[in-house]
Symmetry: C2
Subunit: 429 residues, 2 copies
Amino acid sequence: MAVIRSSVESANDGRTEFPLSNLPFGVFRHPNASARIGVAIGDQILDLQAAAKDGLLTGLDEDITVSCEQDSLNALMSLGREGSRALRARLMEFLSEQSARSRVEPLLVPQTRVKMLLPVRVGDYTDFYASIYHATNVGRLFRPDNPLLPNYKYVPIGYHGRASSIVIAGVEIRRPCGQTKAPDATAPSLGPTRALDYELEVGFFVGRGNARGAPILISEAESHIFGMCLLNDWSARDIQAWEYQPLGPFLAKNFGTTISPWVVTMDALEPFRAPAFARPEGDPNPLPYLSADEDRLRGGIDLKLEVWLSTAKMRAEKAEPMRLSQGNLRDLYWTLAQMLTHHASNGCNLQPGDLLGTGTVSGASRDSLGCLLEITKRGAEPVELPNGETRKFLEDGDEVIFRGYCEREGHARIGFGECRGVVLPARNC
Amino acid sequence: MAVIRSSVESANDGRTEFPLSNLPFGVFRHPNASARIGVAIGDQILDLQAAAKDGLLTGLDEDITVSCEQDSLNALMSLGREGSRALRARLMEFLSEQSARSRVEPLLVPQTRVKMLLPVRVGDYTDFYASIYHATNVGRLFRPDNPLLPNYKYVPIGYHGRASSIVIAGVEIRRPCGQTKAPDATAPSLGPTRALDYELEVGFFVGRGNARGAPILISEAESHIFGMCLLNDWSARDIQAWEYQPLGPFLAKNFGTTISPWVVTMDALEPFRAPAFARPEGDPNPLPYLSADEDRLRGGIDLKLEVWLSTAKMRAEKAEPMRLSQGNLRDLYWTLAQMLTHHASNGCNLQPGDLLGTGTVSGASRDSLGCLLEITKRGAEPVELPNGETRKFLEDGDEVIFRGYCEREGHARIGFGECRGVVLPARNC
């Protein structure tokens, strides 16, 4: 397949995360201007509000044009995959016409000049637990005798997260205070968490929703998924261990969740689809409502994921960030379609812009573990950094950086942009 | 204290839930008109948009007037307790002037003529577990050897619920499908829940919020609470039992949550304040961040709560609903202020209109249990209804009705209005 060139030169260099075939959506703000929707192309952003004014969207459904003039992607998401598909097709055509170069240029804004904002007003945020490696590793630490619970291979386990504290990459995360109890203490006490962790996840956004009471068939699930981002589910492990029984994680998680700014559409990910996770022999088949041939054959996505760490000391020494792990979304036991279908199987209504997280993406190998809890075995085996520092968990000043990209012979590499966050010291508890 | 009479006669009859001293806020819609904010007075609603047009609110802060012209209470809630206090004072004065009767009348709408709508756009919904009786009773059924977990007396246990499926009283609730597994089955199966339950709860709304990263002191917690409603946390017990480990309830709860339409302000509840729950000797004191003399002395609310059941057969026989239980909000182990402070203690940002549920309100006595799971001991001891029917859990056509009211010598009785919902049969699973 030939890779089509864009009139935006930086989109053609083979190293960019945003070639013509990606065109992810985001919301940006110029200094002193209002929030606008744009698509990333090379090192630029195509301003969709300006594009609409220029007449570039003429002929598309009015709903689409109107949705491009909002300050969030919710309206565009509500149009379903057809809406973003028609829009991307138009933009792709426009951005590939070398003769349109002079018309393109006034609509571009350099990415370095703007502030990226949350792309979506998230109504509800749900976090899953779809990596069996993660579930097993964490289960072993919290319940050595009973690591993987009997429901895991039947139920795509998930729980509700906090929408209000979702922040865009770059926003600092303050170390939370909370109740913790040492095993030998008689009572808990309040203090800053001593076990702050990241969780490497992928988030996916609901496009068209479903009415309350009306489930979504597994065969139609993907038509309800708009696109994806990277997601850091910051976690305080000591708070979590003390609070999570019997109703699940709460304050250990809801102080902050970071997402990357660009929403990569399912259409852009199309060339990188892969078979769903191959269940080992002896594992049960998914129940019929979670089974579809189509999903089994291409429910996976070959998305490489990396975690990088930059400590304050490393930055002072002008050292490069260190890679802590690399994983792949293909390692998830459950597909996105299965998670979404399960979520709506009781009639729960999903709405455009709702965010679903996959849960920590860990693989089978030691270098593909998606959180420090797993990497350091709850602090028992600290990570050594090149400059001599060690980490059991995150320290103040640490910056965690997630990267994600898809590569395949004959296709331009596409990326997600970075999901970054720096840890600030706790306030007085 | 003398009870002040209103010019709206139905507010003076001693039986109404909405005397002059209540004035709860809600959102209503006349046939073919847009949604408006009103306050309940007797069997009428005072239309606040009309009142603003009439000049009745002149002299109040412009923020208050503007908030009365919205189609939800979020803007009013964001003004904090001062905002609603000033507004209610003005309305109380106006509605007590007998000479203003002719000016009042055009602003009134009979409650029977309108449809009540969700009063608030709920950003995030959190459900607590604040009744130690409920936690112990339920714990005994799910974990006979370990009913009350060691964290209960230290942590106001809570978890995130689903905001999108919150509905207003009167909206029907469809019996959900879900995975369940009988103890002797080798694998789970999908089917309609056979253990549909209600949970009697009180909901409270956040008024002024807090910034992300900035906790709320226990001494200031009540200034962040706008008011309260009744809440039915519909639950599918068989789905819950199979799914809830290790991340808590999910599909067992998120198919629907019903709230009563009127938000009763904390100011209206002032005369009914009571000491917080008296912890039995031997129980630990709350940690300092959850302790305040003020909260201990008046953190409770003497709010009587009732659950009534009306089956389809009872309605066909024109029989009255049957009362299943009566409890009191004073029986909660944790106060509203403690729940709110705990929620924000890690810096989680609460926003105007966020809804917090208390969890099932159960008391110590057999007739004060707030859900069928407890009343029937998970179906082992069915309830007998006057017409010969029995109930282990809810059946299709059952209507569940919650009522709540405060009474105290020298004060007009105030009520919450009803929180009603009928169970519809499941769809094909």
